[in-house]
Each structure stands twice: as structure tokens, then as C-alpha cells.
Symmetry: C2
Amino acid sequence: MVKYSVHALTRTFAALADPTRRRILDDLGRGERCVTDLARPHRMSLPAVSKHLRVLERAGLIRRHRCGRVHSLKLEAKPMKAAQEWIEQYRRFWEESFDRLDDYLNELKTKEKNEAKKKQI
Amino acid sequence: MVKYSVHALTRTFAALADPTRRRILDDLGRGERCVTDLARPHRMSLPAVSKHLRVLERAGLIRRHRCGRVHSLKLEAKPMKAAQEWIEQYRRFWEESFDRLDDYLNELKTKEKNEAKKKQI
């Protein structure tokens, strides 16, 4: 199995394990935003949003620029690459399980057809 | 952006946000194991391993079979598919940033070559 920085992976997955933080990343996927713009759709207090932003910053998933008193935030997707590669190792397992489900459904269909034929005879 | 079950994604990412749980999944990727076999390489107490196994079970990432008094565990990778697809949406961002790094390194190489040429003249 591929080796990655254990701590970086843990920080990335932990940062993604929250719906508000994932929505913030979605928002930043549409372009840079300032902190107040990010807080508005989540109906959250600025301190609450700031807490989530710190988690995302520590994971290296966003970068903060200061333009005077305004903090502007930008998406930094690089850490997601390692997370994606880690999960990718398991693709054959979920594809196998979907194949098994397909086989089972095909088997059911064949049985149904055979039953229908028997009834016709 | 693609829609997934918010809670399921949160549970999956939270389950992956721990190095011991990721190693347990690695172990199970090599085949079914019983709880004591899983605990051994991590030098952890059975209750500590059981706590991690419960998190993985709740996320649907492992399945437990009971053969009498022995609990055997199996990897269930299906929930990882949604996690992988969620991250995949950001691929263009990390690829863009690696492209920018490539451009910068090529620029540096060209500069170095030009400098070397000037010195030769």
C-alpha cells in the first residue's frame, strides 16, 4: 500500500469530516471569499466560522490573504490529492461489491424470466 | 457540485481521520481477520481496538460476522466510493496548482540555461 504523511492525511480527513467545512470548501471552489461572505449562508457567528476556518487552514486546505483589515480566503486543494490516492487503493473492493450486486440482480432477473416462462407453458 | 448523504460522508471521513483505523482497514484489505489478530500489530488493548472497530462499523466500512465466540471482520469499501467522488470534484484545483508549479520550474530551468549561455559568450 502507498505511503503518505500519516499526520497530514489525518488532518485532511478530520477537516473534511464536517458538513460546514465541506460547504465552505464548496463555496471557495467558486472563487476567493472574505470571512463575512463565507459566514452568511451558514447563518453562523463569525467566531464559529473562524474556528472551522482554522481547522481548514491547519490542514492546508485554505490559504488566508490579508488586504488591510479584510481577510480573503482561497481554496488549496493539494492535500486532497493524497487523501484521494489513499482511498483509491480500495477502489477494487467497492467495484467488486457492486459487481456482486450486479450478478445478484441479473440472477434474480433470469429466475423471474424462467418463472414467467414456466407459467406460460 | 454532486450531492451525497451528508451524514454518511461525515461518518466516512471521521472514520478515516485516525491512523489506527486506517491501518485496520489496510489489514482487512488483505483478508478477513478476527478481533485479536487485528489488535496484535497495533499493540493495543482489546477494548481500545473495539472502540475503533465500532467507529468503522457505524461508518459501514467493516462488517462483523460471529462464528460462535469468535468475531471475524471484513472490509466493506462501498462508503469510500462517495468519499472518493466528493474529493474528485476538486481534482482540477490540485492539478492546476501542480501545473503552476511545473510552469514555475520550467521557467527557472530556462532562466538557468540562458544564464549559462551568457557566461559561455
